[in-house]
């Protein structure tokens, strides 16, 4: 693969890379100066630049960032907010913590630029409560930035104000959902909101709000410094730039890798520069490429994919948050599925009925199957419950639970059937409706 710039992870190996001094000595805050001083760059121009770069949201949804910024109505007289989503809780994903640990100033500079792009003067970084040590690190870095005049009033004499607060979460995966995050920040429970209205128009405290992932904002300084076209030249046409991929499971070198989008999965999992293949004695059985909420791929499918939005979609899964969970042939698929469903059951906010009841129900069924108390129609039931959950809820946590559930059973059905007594395909099996309907 051709050489590509390490946009995000360039300085991770540098000692004290988290300090302002080291960041600046490696070209830090040049982008901020470029935008706010001298010839300057207007917010509109910055939005256009990021749009042209093709940068897509790195939290999981993959929505074009520049386009999202454009949804903020600039002509209404309300304060605007930029919220940075550092709630990283998707199982398999552990990349944002590395940015915050080793290059917090890149994220801070990116956040200031992103705030500027939407004319927001207040920026909250919502970080999951479990990352306690990173809260300290961020607060120190922010203090350094304030001291240097990169945050606060009239930054670099530009007239642009930006206040930044680190807001610590307290243990809820659903606060990674953008409207759940907004509600949590408002002091409500972190339960997602119904849409419409959309956060870009009615968000935090009913004001226009953009929620961006850590990796997304951290990508912005490079784009400003090197230009949208340079960014778009990396990766593929529709999946530009680099992405941090978290790889875990029984590979020789699990970890966070910055890769150009389009890299073949085979290279990522087996390549010498990357994971260097499976651990000794373990064979590749499956892979969940985008964090636990996407459909699982079997070994063959895994190695046929490239790491980009389109390739994964073609193979029936998603790039998601880029949290790749590798599954070896020592794994028991029903147990793994139960483990994941248990997670969604535990993390469901409980607001809307299909998810609240559905996740609990799926968990209950898998539990009894694993305890040897499964019933013959349980697989049919799991499928049906899943169909009734998908697309009927306020947010996609329900879908996130159903996708592994349905894909695991589809691709590893024999392991599930083995748990059930006398499996027989029921004659009246209708996937989407109840099995018995009285005539009305």
């Amino acid at each position: 693969m051709a050489d590509f710039p390490k946009i995000l992870s360039e300085n991770w190996d540098v000692e004290n890379s988290h300090t302002l001094e080291v960041y600046e000595s490696h070209g830090g805050y040049v982008a901020l100066k470029k935008v706010l001083t001298g010839d300057k760059i207007t917010p509109e121009a910055l939005r256009e630049e990021v749009k042209t770069s093709g940068l897509r949201g790195r939290g999981g949804a993959g929505f074009p960032t520049g386009v999202k910024w454009g949804f903020v109505p600039q002509n209404i007289d309300k304060p605007k907010y930029l919220l940075v989503n550092a709630d990283e809780s998707e199982p398999g994903t552990f990349k944002d913590r590395f940015i915050m640990d080793y290059d917090p100033h890149m994220m801070i500079e990116g956040s200031i630029l992103s705030s500027y792009a939407i004319n927001a003067n207040d920026c909250f970084i919502y970080i999951r409560g479990e990352y306690g040590w990173l809260v300290d690190r961020l607060e120190e870095a922010i203090e350094e930035a304030y001291a240097k005049g990169y945050l606060g009033k009239n930054i670099l004499g530009s007239g642009f104000d930006c206040e930044m607060i680190v807001h610590k979460g307290a243990g809820a995966y659903i606060c990674g959902e953008e409207t759940g995050l907004i509600n949590s920040l408002e002091g409500l429970k972190g339960q997602p909101r119904i849409k419409p209205p959309f956060p870009a128009v009615v968000g935090f405290l009913d004001c226009p709000t953009i929620v961006n992932n850590v990796e997304t904002v951290a990508s912005v300084p490079w784009i400003v410094n090197n230009g949208a076209n340079a960014y778009a030249a990396i990766g593929t046409e529709k999946s530009t730039g680099t992405k941090l991929f978290s790889v875990s499971g029984p590979v020789k070198r699990p970890g966070v890798y910055e890769i150009p989008l389009g890299l073949p999965m085979k290279e990522l999992l087996m390549g010498n520069d990357y994971c260097q293949g499976m651990k000794d004695g373990v064979e590749l059985k499956a892979c969940i490429p985008g964090g636990s909420s996407v459909p699982i791929l079997n070994a063959e499918e895994t190695l046929a994919c490239n790491v980009d939005y389109e390739s994964f979609a073609e193979h029936g899964t998603m790039l998601g948050s880029g949290g790749c969970i590798v599954v070896g042939n020592d794994a028991n698929m029903p147990e793994l599925l139960k483990n994941l469903i248990q997670f969604y059951h535990h993390e469901s906010c409980g607001q809307c009925t299909p998810c609240r009841e559905g996740t609990g129900w799926l968990d209950m069924i898998l539990e009894r199957m694993l305890n040897g108390e499964g019933r013959p129609k349980d697989l049919e039931l799991l499928d049906r419950i899943g169909n009734n959950m998908m697309g009927t809820t306020i947010c996609v946590l329900a879908d996130a639970a159903v996708m592994p559930c349905q894909s695991f059973i589809k691709k590893f059905r024999d392991e599930f059937e083995a748990l059930l007594p006398d499996m027989e395909e029921p004659e009246d099996y209708i996937p989407t409706t109840s099995s018995a309907e009285l005539p009305r």
Binding site: C349, Q351, T359, A436
Partner: protein, 527 residues
Amino acid sequence: MAKITIDGIEHEFEEGKNLFEACAEANGEKLPHFCYHPGLSIAGVCRMCQVEIEGVPKLVIACNATVRDGMVVHTKNDRVKSTVKNILNFHLLHHPVDCPVCDQAGECSLQDFYMNHGLYDADIDIDDKLAKGKVKPIGELVMLDAERCVLCARCTRFTREVTKTDELGIFHRGNHSEIDVAPGKTLDNNYSLNTVDICPVGALTSRDFRFRKRVWWLETTDSVCPGCSTGCNMTIHHNEGTAYRFKPRENMDVNEYWMCDHGRLLYKDIMTDARQTAPTVGKGDARTDGSWERAYARVLEMAEGKTLAFVGSPHATLEELFALGRLCEVAGGKWIGARLASTEVGEADDLLFSADRTPNGEGLRRLKAGEFSLDELRSAATGDHVLVVLENDLVGLSDSGVLDGFAGVIAIAADANATTEAADVVLPTLKYAEKSGTWINKNGRAQALAPAFVGPAEARDALRIASELAETFGHTFTWTDAAAVLTEIAGTVDGFGALAAGIGPQGVSLDGTPDAPAPSGGEEAQA
């Protein structure tokens, strides 16, 4: 105006109108729902009101959608029906089948939806339902059964948006979510029973009503609350001559969807031991029950050579006050007034409870029936006057000797009180729940009463008493009922012309303006 098609039929609605409301108007019935309530913000959590909108891939909850020109909506096709059934199934999953012991049976949304949209073998194939707090009093009047709760969040939204008292919350998350009061708090504001009204299932029930009557035995009569001058529209629920509860009736110009607990519990006062069931003659130990003939004869005796003085009441209906006034005229009497000034008032709250604790204070003002001071009353209490007082506990509202100066007292009253104690003749009359009549609320809105009960056998409508007394003075009133009196009022009294056509169930504004409605969470929160 926008043209939209709902279930194959074209309708015209204002662009931007709430689609749930539009479908309800179009189809004559509401979409299945738990969490939507027009008086509260939109929650969108129950997922029952999903409809198909052509061109939109996923089903959409109607409560959070608005009418757009050209929309084509399906509320009853197979896809929607199947989805609703499945969502209902999720609601039933952990629901305890308490129907045999649950007050909500017969007015329960889960039951209704199951009958209309389910009626299937619910494949609830689980071993144990989740246990949550059961039979838990969370206030003096409200009982919580958290297992029955479908987590529609209507009650929490009510305490947050309408009363703004925030007693209730939903604690924990996922399927362990549970409604409760915050620790140490109780749901005891003056509107607590509204949460019972809006709870679609038996999770919140009235402790006052608990286990007293199955709702399918209850008949309903529309009426107006007697508790203050707001005049909340309500409905009397009754069976075989006994009232069991009041529930608010929707009137966007008066009380929107709510009524206060104070007014709601007044159903208990309709028939008590204090009820006057027969005319009495004489005072103290000499008091005896008598017939109406005897009572009227005594009245005539007392009136001989004296002037009758008349006092009305802010509890009496418009018609009764008018009739009493006409009686005063034909008897050549002295009209003192209809209300002792500065009595029966209290503190108003921010919602519905008015400072004027009488239902017709405004009516008597507009009729110019007059308020009078205690001094005025005392100076009228001379030996050549005999007092006729209608439904007004003057003694109780002032002091025990206030009527002593009169040559005699004739009390037309429904309940015994300090004034009837002091009266020489007591003529038993009917209460608001036993007659037709009109009250004017504090904003000049005329609202109609209707009889739910017959009342004690020997009690008589005050209009009838006025007519019969007028007869003894040689005058015949031509009215036969309250409606006739109302027509006369509308035709002859300034300011009452709006009542010429009668009063419908939502009342009529005397000034032709809508009232300032009670503040609620609905409009602000939905804006």
